[in-house]
């Protein structure tokens, strides 16, 4: 297919045009809360555990044979462990009451906090929102919150995981400095794995470079 560099350049050129067209169309997706629909068990993210082998007994990966790969799809036995995230409510309403209703909380709580390219420092445009968050969290002491760190698609996936965690941590530190007990805050990085906007536009990239708040009851 690709015999060499020159032919390849032609491809590159036409792709550039396609990309331009995509820029014009823009990012049509709205920023929507991530709802953890991929089955995140609620007890997994903050529990510490020892570094130890579990004996490989989680089982059910399929029967062993030298033709192992052909029997995979029917072999998994651990689908039962994939809980829905009934313990987590994404900000954005529709959540169950807990004293103050979660939709009220959502109204008070800021939307996502955005970051500059390659950066994890809290921007000035995020500070007011984070102050509001902190105030609300101080007033609602029974609420636990998880901060998700995310990055845009540029950059390598592994480095973006580290970057996402830095964003989550700096957001956590900011809240802690405003009086929220760090014990009420957990964090997790999804890097570029759960992007909410998939166009190759600056607008989209910005929407993905975010810290996202999830209330855990």
């Amino acid at each position: 297919m690709f015999k060499g560099g020159s032919q390849f350049k032609m491809y590159a050129g036409s792709i550039g045009i396609i990309l331009l067209a995509m820029v014009v169309v823009g990012c049509s997706k709205k920023v929507a809360p991530v709802t953890g629909s991929e089955g995140i068990a609620k007890d997994g993210t903050t529990s510490s555990s020892d570094l130890s082998a579990k004996g490989g007994s989680e089982g059910g990966m399929g029967s062993s044979s030298d033709d192992a790969m052909s029997s995979r799809d029917s072999g998994s036995g651990d689908s039962g462990s994939m809980k829905s995230d009934d313990g987590m409510s994404s900000m954005g309403g529709k959540s169950a009451d807990s004293g103050m209703s979660m939709s009220e909380a959502a109204a008070k709580f800021a939307s996502d906090v955005y970051f500059d390219f390659d950066m994890w420092t809290i921007r000035s445009d995020a500070k007011d929102a984070l102050s509001e968050n902190a105030k609300w969290l101080v007033e609602n002491k029974d609420v636990m919150v998880q901060i998700e760190g995310h990055g845009d698609e540029r950059g390598t996936s592994e480095y973006n995981l580290a970057l996402g965690e830095r964003r989550a941590r700096s957001t956590m530190r900011y809240l802690a400095n405003l009086g929220v007990s760090p014990s009420r805050i957990s964090f997790i990085s999804y890097g570029e794995e759960k992007n909410i906007c998939n166009e190759k536009t600056e607008d989209c990239f910005q929407k993905n470079r975010r810290a996202h708040f999830v209330i855990k009851k």
Binding site: G4, G5, L51, A53, G55, D73, G75, S79, E153, S157
Partner: protein, 431 residues
């Protein structure tokens, strides 16, 4: 020094413009090497096996064309139009020899219980000797494997190096709606989902013996490191510290994994035994240290660190000592992959438009090249074939992320995945 494609560098040193950059590259690696001209004679088999024979011939043809070793000559181009599919006789071999064919390839396929047997032969035309003669057995659905094994036998015989046609690529795909671990043949055939975590799988990596795959999964919520044993079908949790447990790399012995974890406040590189015991921290730095990749000697580890500001590639001894920086070109170089031959380290480098391409530096720092072309897309996650001459990588140049292979000199790019999903993070097995 600005990175330039290797063929540009080479053309500075050769007076004649190279006919084929790959050939020149090959010669640079092993002086005096010429591609070996071979021709495929019609394979023999019962009439009802026509379809199977065509598959095998086509797969072998594709393997030989993709190899850096053979030049495939079509029999019709040299006036050799075999009337039968019998083993080539002395007159045919003689004619091929005169036409410049060094070896004639021929095989005979027969069914046997639960599968096939392919009697595979190669005849060196100069003396008329059979130099490869081997019976290859395979299961009913392993037709393509028969051809791959024939191809690898040929590579081994004519170069002394093991071929890569039987190797596999593990990668992540969201085809099912979730990011799961998949495995495919080196040519993109036989794609198979391997996990059913219904979560996010990251960075699957082959063990050196190709019997295990390490990967990170959010299946329990926290991104933990796991090892899948393909033989027994079991999964072992290797590291489950709060925070990230990710970017693992197998030591060449297969006994240890280097990986990054953020449990101590930022990403640091740790060593752990392949059964999850014996944790040892290797890096101590307030910056992020991640994405380790072992040298084939097992004595050194390349990794990404942003201790100097932006992320760059560094090299340390396997015990964490003697850290030195490898890359200085550009402000973003990540995800190193040390070639199995030891001489190159490939990585993702960022261009002025904040987009990634695949670059490679000599491990001793004496040369830096761009492997893929710069554009408004990302090429990342390079992983080497065992021969150290070909890489796989992820690119979103055509929209979604897909997996491609390319020769180190930037030629012979080939797309290996083309489904509507995102296919990312390939790891090429070493056997």
């Amino acid at each position: 020094m600005k990175r330039v494609p290797l063929w540009v560098l080479l053309s500075l040193f050769v007076t004649e413009l190279p006919v084929n950059a790959a050939e020149v590259f090959m010669e640079m690696q092993r002086s005096g090497f010429r591609k070996i001209p071979v021709a495929i004679m019609p394979f023999q088999g019962e009439a009802e096996l026509k379809e199977e024979l065509t598959i095998i011939e086509n797969v072998l043809r594709s393997d030989l064309k993709r190899s850096h070793v053979f030049e495939l000559i079509e029999t019709r181009d040299i006036g050799l139009s075999p009337a039968s599919n019998e083993a080539p006789g002395s007159s045919v071999i003689d004619k091929a020899s005169k036409a410049g064919v060094l070896a004639l390839l021929w095989a005979k396929l027969a069914p046997q219980e639960n599968g096939w047997v392919l009697e595979s032969h190669a005849y060196e035309t100069a003396k008329g000797d059979q130099v490869v003669g081997v019976k290859i057995f395979g299961g009913k659905r392993k037709l393509r494997q028969l051809a791959h094994r024939f191809s690898d036998k040929l590579t081994l015989h004519f170069t002394g190096e093991p071929g890569v046609a039987q190797s596999k690529i593990t990668y992540v795909s969201d085809l099912s709606g979730n990011k799961e671990v998949y495995i495919m043949d080196y040519d993109g055939a036989n794609k198979m989902r391997y996990t059913r975590d219904r979560s996010i799988a990251i960075s699957p990596r082959w063990s050196p013996d190709a019997e295990k795959i390490s990967y990170t999964s959010f299946r329990k919520g926290n991104p933990n490191l796991y090892v899948l044993d393909l033989k027994t079908g079991t999964r072992t949790e290797i590291a489950s510290f709060p925070g990230l447990n990710f970017s693992a790399s197998w030591s060449p012995s297969g006994k240890q994994l280097a990986f990054a974890a953020t449990k101590d406040g930022n990403a640091e590189i740790y060593l752990v035994n392949a059964d999850g015991t014996g944790l040892k921290r290797l890096t101590f730095n307030a910056a992020d240290d991640l994405s380790p990749s072992w040298s084939p000697s097992g004595k050194q580890i390349a990794f990404t660190s942003d201790r100097g500001g932006g992320p760059q590639i560094y090299i340390m001894d396997a015990d964490g000592a003697n850290v030195h920086r490898l890359t200085f070109d550009g402000n973003y170089n990540t995800s190193p992959a040390w070639s199995p031959t030891g001489d190159w380290i490939a990585y993702a480098c960022r261009n002025e438009e904040r987009r990634l391409k695949v670059c490679a530096d000599r491990a001793d720092g004496t040369q830096s090249i761009a492997v893929t072309e710069s554009g408004h897309w990302d090429d990342e996650s390079p992983s080497w074939a065992q021969n150290g001459r070909e890489l796989v990588f992820t690119s979103n140049r055509f929209g979604k992320n897909q997996i491609f292979s390319i020769h180190l000199d930037g030629t012979h790019m080939r797309r290996l995945t083309s489904n509507p999903a995102n296919n990312t993070s390939p790891s090429w097995s070493l056997r």
